[in-house]
Amino acid sequence: MFRFPDLQIIKRVAAVLTLAGAMTLLGCSEKASSPEKQSGAAGQKPSGALMKASADGVKHELFSVGQPATQAQIEGWDIDVRPDGLGLPEGEGSVEDGEMLYEDKCASCHGTFGEGEGRWPKLAGGMGTLSQERPDKTVGSYWPYASTLWDYIRRAMPFPAPQSLAVDEVYAITAYVLNLNDLVDDDFVLSRDNFNSIKMPNKDGFFIDDRPDVKNPRCLSGCLDPATIKIVETIAGITPTAHIKEGGTDARAYSEEEAGGDNTEAQSAGKSVHDSACKICHGSGVAGAPITGNSDDWQARIKQDKALIYQHALEGFQGESGVMPAKGGQTQLDDIAVKAAVDYMLEQSH
């Protein structure tokens, strides 16, 4: 078998050695040992090259490219928090304040009690389920450190408006999610000072990668008894197969489990599109979006001609309270899907 890269490396090593030798003879040794030569050539690992250089007492010349990062620059971007609390800023937040913030900013996806809407993450419950057939991995049942919760809320939540929360708000929402998991009392106030008192139930549930954990001998013949071979078939109908299969679907838009039993097909389709494409903003009111189900938000809009509402949803619209991008920015949706979602939102909000 032809192994191209090995051969290539050998050639390059030879070429560089020759070049280096020639340069030394010509009095160019300083250039030959420049960092470019050390790290760029011969397929050598530069770390090895650098370490060897310092071990030999040869001073490594830095490229000196880049600017010193100032303290202010670092402070603006250094947002991470570790399990030992390193990185937590001064601040505090109560379970009580957290509940209000959570209702406003989190519940539309994560559910009022952290139960998770649709396929959005469930945050609470699931204690003792990790070894069961259907484990429920929530903040309370699975996450090993409270710092991860604080860090993630600050860096990435709420989903449509990341890094928009004030430090005290992050403390408050963290406290409330811990409270939803019965890990702190209703009157608890979380702060940097008491952060390390939080102990997560599954703290000791993790172990460092110990793979390879499976050893398969390279058997070549008679490896198993053909009579014992059983075959499990693929479940049909849940893969998008329109491009390869006659009569296949592009996607099962909505699982039967999630579909409301009493909904018509059209309503289910509208809800499905809404939950996956529109709810990000229309569930929480982000960017001035009228909240689905809030009749105050929708009253004036419902009075408009439906064709105009469709048009605004399809083509985009600059309103008084905010901007509706064409199809909410989900331009891959076809018009029928968007209209179904509009129908669903109107139906839910009158």
Binding site: P68, D78, V214, S276
Partner: protein, 450 residues
């Protein structure tokens, strides 16, 4: 078998099982020799016949007939479009189905989701930039490179901040490496449920990546002796962050700004990303804005809540970085069925996060017997590697499998071995031997042998 039959199957290992008649192995091994002499000519003839058939299908669908011999095709009797009519070239209109696809029910919406590469349509080792699988946690940011910076700080002598131009001044390296989501195949721990290769294995791509060795940048900032971990953080709305051990960072981690000869695509981290060769794709943080050196890992959400592997006993593995040795047959596959009996080349891909692929074996009988399948083209560490096996299909059913072996001696395991060790709820790192059942009519189904 009809689809209505399949609807009765549950996906659990306790689901409805059924066995199929095995092909006679004697027949198979006798016929499965490399092509020689007259056989080769027959094979070429067969190929020509197949190509002709394919062309007929395409042409009749798009234009009137009359482009086939003895007629002179319309494109031979007219002029095509001129230079820079498409300043950035795009594939032929006839390749419109060669695209990334997703399984919509996998995630709550498309902004934090994943798509898969069409492995069944790819040739060689390189995944074209527009077909590299996507994984975002907060959508694709459109980053202005002039306003993007990479900051390196923490336990270092000289915290530094780099512009993209400054990064490009360091000596560059170009390396061909695969990148794979550790959840590749993860929908099938409990049972098969994907009807195509794109969905069973498509969270996998391979590119030539160009950038700076992270060790070069770490030398610039001067890592203090107590610096043992590197936090890599993205500039996207998820500020996705992972902890990387310093040993890896100093070994082969790259800070890359180009893939397959051009700037990174926005989907792949433009203007700059991390690349941890052979490790789970999630550690190769895209839209890289910050590297912090610390003395312990950070236990970010994506290395605790997610990307940890739950075992049957309720404990979970963490920092499961390496993508272990894996392989899959890409032709035939559900998307690329066989037609009539005769010569075919069985092809597939093998890869290992621990190094180079040493060998690939294939089985026609569900793993009872194995034959060595030659590796094709370049064989490089932590890159995709292609294998091929010329085979005269007698026309009966087969249970096709491939099994890869890497340079550490690790052999790709069976599904049963993985399940016995880990249970069925670990989501990530399912690298089990995969089974395609070739039916008597040449169609191919995804099945499991539990």
């Amino acid at each position: 078998m009809s689809d209505s039959d399949n609807k009765n199957m549950s996906q659990g290992s306790g689901g409805l099982l059924r066995s199929k008649a095995m092909p006679s192995l004697k027949t198979l091994s006798g016929e499965a020799e490399p092509l020689k002499g007259g056989d080769r000519r027959g094979f070429l003839k067969g190929l020509l016949a197949m190509t002709g058939a394919a062309a007929t299908g395409q042409v009749s669908a798009v234009t009137s007939r009359g482009n086939l011999p003895p007629e002179v095709p319309s494109w031979t009797k007219s002029l095509g479009r001129g230079v820079v009519s498409k300043p950035y070239g795009t594939p032929s209109v006839y390749e419109k189905d060669v695209v990334r696809r997703t399984v919509p029910w996998l995630t709550a919406e498309s902004i934090s989701s994943i798509s898969m590469s069409p492995l069944h349509e790819l040739k060689g080792l390189i995944t074209p930039n527009g077909l590299v699988f996507e994984r975002y946690h907060a959508g694709v940011p459109e980053i202005d490179p002039e306003q993007h910076r990479l900051m390196i700080h923490g336990l270092v002598e000289r915290p530094l901040i780099f512009t993209m131009e400054e990064l490009a001044r360091f000596p560059s390296v170009s390396e061909i490496k695969f990148i794979e989501c550790p959840a590749n195949g993860g929908m099938e721990w409990k049972g098969p449920q994907m009807e195509g290769l794109q969905f069973t294995h498509g969270m996998l791509s391979c590119c030539e990546w160009t950038g700076v060795r992270l060790s070069t940048l770490l030398a610039e900032v001067g890592v203090k002796p107590e610096g043992k971990w590197v936090l890599a953080e993205g500039a996207d709305g998820a500020a996705m962050a992972r902890s990387i051990p310093i040993e890896k960072a100093l070994d082969d981690t790259l800070v890359v700004y180009a893939q397959n000869g051009e700037a990174l695509r926005p989907e792949q981290g433009y203007p700059v990303r991390l690349l941890n060769p052979g490790w789970e794709g999630n550690t190769s943080v895209k839209w890289l804005r910050r590297l912090e050196i610390g003395d312990q890992p950070w236990h970010m959400r994506e290395e605790t809540s997610k990307y940890t592997d739950l075992m049957a006993d309720g404990r979970a593995r963490k920092f499961t970085f390496v993508q272990e040795c894996n392989s899959v047959i890409t032709s035939p596959c559900p998307e690329k069925p066989w037609q009539n009996a005769g010569w075919y080349e069985i092809e597939g891909l093998a890869w290992s996060g621990r190094g180079a692929i040493k060998a690939v074996d294939i089985s026609f009988d569900g793993g009872v017997n194995w034959l060595n399948a030659p590796l094709k083209g370049m064989v490089m560490a932590k890159s995709l590697t292609r294998f091929g096996y010329r085979f005269k299909w007698p026309g009966g059913p087969l249970l096709l499998q491939s099994r890869a072996l890497d340079e550490t001696g690790y052999v790709q395991p069976t599904l049963r071995q993985l399940r016995e060790q880990r249970g069925v709820n670990s989501i990530y790192h399912k690298n089990a031997i995969h089974t395609w059942r070739v039916e008597a009519d040449g169609s191919v189904r995804n099945v499991q042998i539990p």
